[in-house]
């Protein structure tokens, strides 16, 4: 007992008197006995007004009321005291009992406060579709492939995700794109409009080499029409080499086979091949995504050309690019059935209204009223008045549908201000489908919602299970996982070409696909989330297998592979994650350490202080090992307080270079992957590191739960969500950490099912014009 009795009594009275009315303050004596003396005598030595280390002045925390108002900081205090980080080792340490008593008191206070908190579902403003959601919705609504990532600018992100309602806006530039996209999509969905003038709309940058002498282009064609597939071949072989056969195919079907002479270019006087042979094939294609391939078949001469020279135009011949020109008026009439035309528009206005009503119900994701349909029908009528034909009129009306706010936004009714109400079933259906599919509800979901049965617990959980089993749930891997793990930034990553000559678009795509398929497998197979740490399987193709040094995998397609060595397991030693947590020229222990701290241990480090001197980059791997340089972090106790947690985790991953390959040396220095977790446990290999991470399942579960909750709700996690997160962690843990338990838990939670009402603004309803 550090405080004299008289003072304690005075403090007790004082604190009791200061208790805010109507609030159940924790028993004051415990605060004064277990917490305050420690603050007073130990903490405020450094955390006071003058010397506010890390910006903290504990003199302002002496009042137990701050347990509620400054909860976040108190949680930090608990974390640091519990793990032994604070007080720093060279200051006066606390005894085990003192530490335990302080922590127990504080955690008890938190639990009490959480129990008493009124459940608050929070509020997300009307939520615009992200561009991925737009593209998926168009696909499901109209069967049209639309590449929103090409047409629309990237969405702004918040809290690490691009689907945060508060952040998404519609600028005039984006509105212009919505309008033009709506017109084009409507033309494709209805098929009545005139074909635009031909052009080349495919991008050469999309062409991929899939093998020697074979290239592939995946792109979207917009109209049902004739197209000309053009393949450019370049290069030169010996005069005695036989000509080679090339097959041009679309979606796996060969459309043309040509014989290519192998002396394509007279080698000009500068020694270069200046000409190309161009081959064309004309074919009718319905508008949508297609795969075009140009491949040499039975190319017996290839084996005699050394691998290094296969890209040299003076030594070898190869297809160089594919592009598709069009659309041209079809030579022969083709009928392409349009899913949207449930009756024949030529039969009259009634049919058109039927089509629009059925589309509107699905596009607006709810039963439609005459007020909803009136604008669409008016557009139809106006087009009729201007002399357009029935299909064209319908196109205009569908375009109007696609720029309606009812389509572009997920609108939810506002409960009375300050009150909480359950969202309606149709609103719940949209929340559910955009969470799990990043797309609109399907017919089954919509019917259940319209029948007001969706919210029933049994029905709801069964739907979740069904939706996760549906192929469309790959959207979780595409959108949630890529942002949670940060692998979406792979598109912008560059690597130093001299240090990493094997880095190219093919490798990047392969890395992305591996992580995507892995995450999807965990969801689909309802695996425990510990698989992310050390699941011993993954998905590889030949390119990536070669990168990892795993033999026996051929071909460009991905397949599941059981991993046999300790080198790879889980997602955090996949090349994608290792690449985005490195610099272009080298690995970064600090970046990787930070990544693991944030993603696995739910303990993001504070930002570094302003005066950190720069690292001598030239010396790394040459004069001194990376590890040795970073030992400076240990020298100063203050630096060490964060870096003792950061660096070991990063060192533990040093066996993987900046593109995720396994290595045992960095220049002349052998990799030393040993480290010590604070708390004393050591590891010396990545496998041991993972085992240690695995022992932190509560933290990992909480970290993932918060991220997934953010994604599902479209808003950041707030303090009033704490009980929800706790509950999610409990549920997931109880089900063996299985991921579907977490997903079901989110869907069943208060914030997902309810909505808080907002005050209308004081200003009157916005006047038109």
């Amino acid at each position: 007992m550090r405080v004299p009795a008289a003072t304690a009594l005075a403090l007790l009275l004082g604190v009791l008197a200061a208790r805010p009315a109507g609030q159940q303050a924790p028993p004051a004596p415990a605060f004064d006995r277990d917490v305050r003396p420690i603050l007073d005598e130990v903490c405020t030595r450094c955390h006071n007004e003058r010397k506010a280390n890390a910006g903290l002045n504990f003199n302002t925390f002496m009042d137990p009321a701050t347990l509620e108002t400054r909860r976040d900081t108190w949680e930090l205090v608990v974390d640091k005291v519990k793990s032994g980080d604070m007080p720093p080792v060279d200051e006066d340490p606390l005894s085990v009992q003192e530490r335990a008593a302080m922590v127990a008191y504080l955690e008890g206070a938190f639990a009490r406060a959480d129990r008493e908190m009124k459940p608050d579902p929070g509020h997300v403003p009307v939520h615009r579709l992200t561009r991925v959601e737009y593209a998926n919705t168009i696909r499901d609504l109209l069967g049209v492939d639309f590449r929103a990532t090409d047409e629309f600018p990237p969405d702004d992100s918040g809290y690490g995700f691009d689907n945060i309602g508060d952040v998404l806006t519609v600028s005039p530039a984006l509105m212009q794109r919505y309008l033009s996209a709506a017109e084009r999509i409507a033309a494709r969905a209805i098929g009545g409009g005139p074909l635009p003038s031909p052009g080349v709309f495919t991008r050469r940058s999309r062409v991929r080499k899939i093998a020697d002498g074979a290239i592939e282009l995946k792109d979207v064609l917009e109209y049902d029409a004739d197209y000309t597939v053009r393949v450019g071949v370049t290069g030169h072989r010996g005069p005695d080499d036989p000509p080679v056969t090339m097959a041009i195919s679309v979606d796996g079907q060969a459309i043309e086979t040509v014989t290519v002479p192998v002396q394509l270019s007279a080698v000009n006087k500068q020694g270069g091949a200046t000409q190309r042979a161009l081959y064309e094939a004309r074919v009718f294609l319905p508008g949508n995504e297609h795969t075009f391939r140009a491949a040499f078949v039975d190319d017996t001469t290839l084996a005699s050309i050394p691998v290094k020279s296969r890209g040299d135009v003076g030594q070898n011949i190869f297809p160089e690019f594919i592009e598709v020109a069009g659309p041209f008026k079809p030579a022969q009439p083709h009928v392409v059935r349009k899913a949207a035309l449930i009756c024949d528009p030529a039969s009259g206005t009634l049919c058109a209204h039927r089509i629009l009503a059925s589309l509107a119900r699905r596009a607006y994701r709810r039963p439609v009223t005459p007020a909803d349909l009136a604008p669409l029908n008016r557009v139809y009528a106006k087009a009729a008045a201007k002399g357009y034909r029935p299909l064209e009129r319908l196109q205009f009306a569908v375009a109007a549908l696609l720029v309606s706010p009812n389509f572009l936004f997920r609108v939810e009714k506002n409960p009375l201000p300050g009150t909480i109400a359950r969202v309606t079933d149709v609103e719940l259906a949209s929340r559910l489908s955009y969470f799990l599919w990043s797309s609109m509800p399907d017919e089954e979901l919509l019917r259940l919602a319209e029948a007001n049965r969706l919210h029933q617990p049994g029905v709801l959980s069964a739907q979740v299970t069904r939706m996760l089993a549906d192929p469309k749930s790959l959207a979780l891997a595409d959108n949630f996982a890529s942002q949670w793990l940060g692998t979406r930034t792979l598109d912008g990553v560059t690597r130093d070409q001299t240090k990493f000559p094997e880095w190219n678009a093919d490798l990047r795509e392969a890395m992305k696909t591996e992580t995507r398929l892995f995450f999807d497998a965990v969801v689909r197979g309802n695996r425990p989330i510990s698989d992310f740490i050390d699941g011993n399987y993954t998905f590889l193709n030949a390119r990536l297998a070669r990168h990892y040094g795993i033999a026996g995998i051929d071909g460009p397609d991905f397949r599941r592979v059981e991993l046999k060595t300790d080198e790879r397991s889980g997602v955090f030693t996949q090349a994608s994650v290792l690449t985005v947590s490195s610099y272009p020229t080298r690995t970064s222990v600090v970046l990787r350490g930070k990544y693991l701290l944030e993603t696995v241990l739910n303990a993001p480090p504070p930002p570094p202080p302003a005066d950190v001197p720069p690292l001598d980059e030239k010396g790394i791997g040459v004069a001194v090992s990376h590890r040795a340089q970073l030992e400076q972090h240990r020298a100063d106790a203050l630096c060490a307080s964060c870096h003792n947690k950061l660096d070991p985790l990063g060192f533990g991953l040093e066996n993987y270079d900046a593109v995720g390959r396994w290595r045992t040396k960095d220049g002349p220095f052998a990799i030393d992957a040993t480290g010590t977790f604070p708390g004393g446990r050591t590891f010396s290999t990545p496998a041991e590191l993972k085992a240690l991470l695995r022992s932190h399942m509560p933290q990992f579960t909480r970290a993932l739960a918060e991220r997934m909750l953010t994604y599902a709700l479209g808003r950041g996690v707030e303090p009033f969500d704490r009980p929800v997160v706790k509950d999610l962690v409990a549920r997931t843990t109880a089900d063996g950490y299985r991921i579907q338990a977490m997903i079901q838990g989110i869907v069943a939670s208060v914030p997902f099912q309810d909505r808080r009402g907002e005050r209308k603004s004081a200003v009157q309803e916005t006047k038109r014009q």
Binding site: G486, T489, V493, V580, S581, Y583, P584, L591, P614, L615, D616, E617, A623
Partner: protein, 291 residues
């Protein structure tokens, strides 16, 4: 996630704006290059105004002599010599000997890259560029302040001079005060400005004989030639003192009161020795490149 680390900072940069009319200016230039070779400073830029083109060529010759660049530098590390191209002033007498000296084969003794005015740099741009070359700069002024004042007024450098210039040392001897308004503008910069009055240089006079053998480490030395040509009997070391102070402001030889430099009592002989030693030393060899 992809922030590149910054490089280590370099030595403080020095900008020398001189008329290169007296031999002590030549000595100051030599001292600057010696200090640069010892990595105590970095020559950001030299600008000449108030004299003829020969003065600029002389500075170029001295630069090459000390840094050993035989070819025309067209690189970002070495700025060309600034020169006031409108001036119709004559070449200072002291530069003539060095520039005219030839080798036995008739070629000029000292390598130079300036043939005509367009090989020199526009003075206002040069001064501005030199000041912004390094995070910290010292400016030594011993010429009419016209161009320095003009470079301060250039748009796009608001705040840069205030941030980067660590001190300005103004030599009052000679024609520095010729453009009074400009000088006032320079002195008004919100950075430490120190005036080196004529009395400082006067109390540091040397006779020409002090230099006998001082430059013996080089068979032919342009500054030695200038001193020999410029010093009639004895030589006040205005610019050299100012340059020395600029490089080592905490030196016990000098005190500053009310923005004026003065020699500490009794420090003259020791100071002289130190000054001459710096100006006439052999430059330090460049650091060995690591493999």
């Amino acid at each position: 996630m992809t922030q590149d680390p910054k490089q280590t900072p370099s030595p403080i940069g020095v900008v020398y704006n001189t008329s290169m009319a007296r031999a002590d200016a030549a000595l100051a230039l030599a001292a600057l290059y010696v200090a640069a070779s010892r990595r105590q400073a970095r020559v950001n830029g030299v600008a000449v105004n108030g004299s003829g083109l020969g003065a600029a060529i002389f500075c170029d010759v001295v630069a090459r002599f000390y840094t050993g660049t035989a070819r025309t530098p067209s690189s970002n590390a070495v700025l060309p010599i600034g020169f006031d191209s409108d001036a119709t002033a004559a070449d200072p007498p002291m530069v003539g000997r060095a520039l005219a000296r030839t080798r036995p084969n008739g070629q000029p003794q000292y390598v130079r890259s300036i043939q005509r005015v367009s090989d020199t740099a526009a003075p206002d741009a040069l001064l501005r560029n030199a000041v912004t070359l390094t995070p910290e700069t010292i400016v030594v002024l011993s010429a009419p302040a016209t161009w320095l004042a003009q470079s301060i007024a250039l748009a796009g450098v608001e705040g840069q001079y205030e941030r980067r210039v660590k001190r300005v040392v103004i030599v009052e001897a000679g024609d520095t005060g010729r453009d009074a308004a400009a000088l006032k503008r320079v002195a008004a910069l919100p950075v430490p400005v120190v005036f080196c009055g004529s009395e400082v240089g006067e109390s540091l006079r040397v006779t020409a004989s002090r230099f006998d053998g001082a430059f013996a480490w080089a068979p032919a030395h342009p500054v030695a030639d200038a001193v020999a040509a410029g010093a009639a009997s004895d030589l006040p070391l205005h610019d050299l003192a100012a340059m020395y102070f600029a490089l080592s402001p905490e030196s016990p030889f000098f005190t500053v009161t009310d923005r004026r430099l003065s020699l500490a009592a009794g420090a003259a002989p020791a100071c002289l020795t130190e000054l001459l030693s710096l100006a006439t030393s052999r430059p330090a060899p460049p650091p060995a490149r690591t493999a």
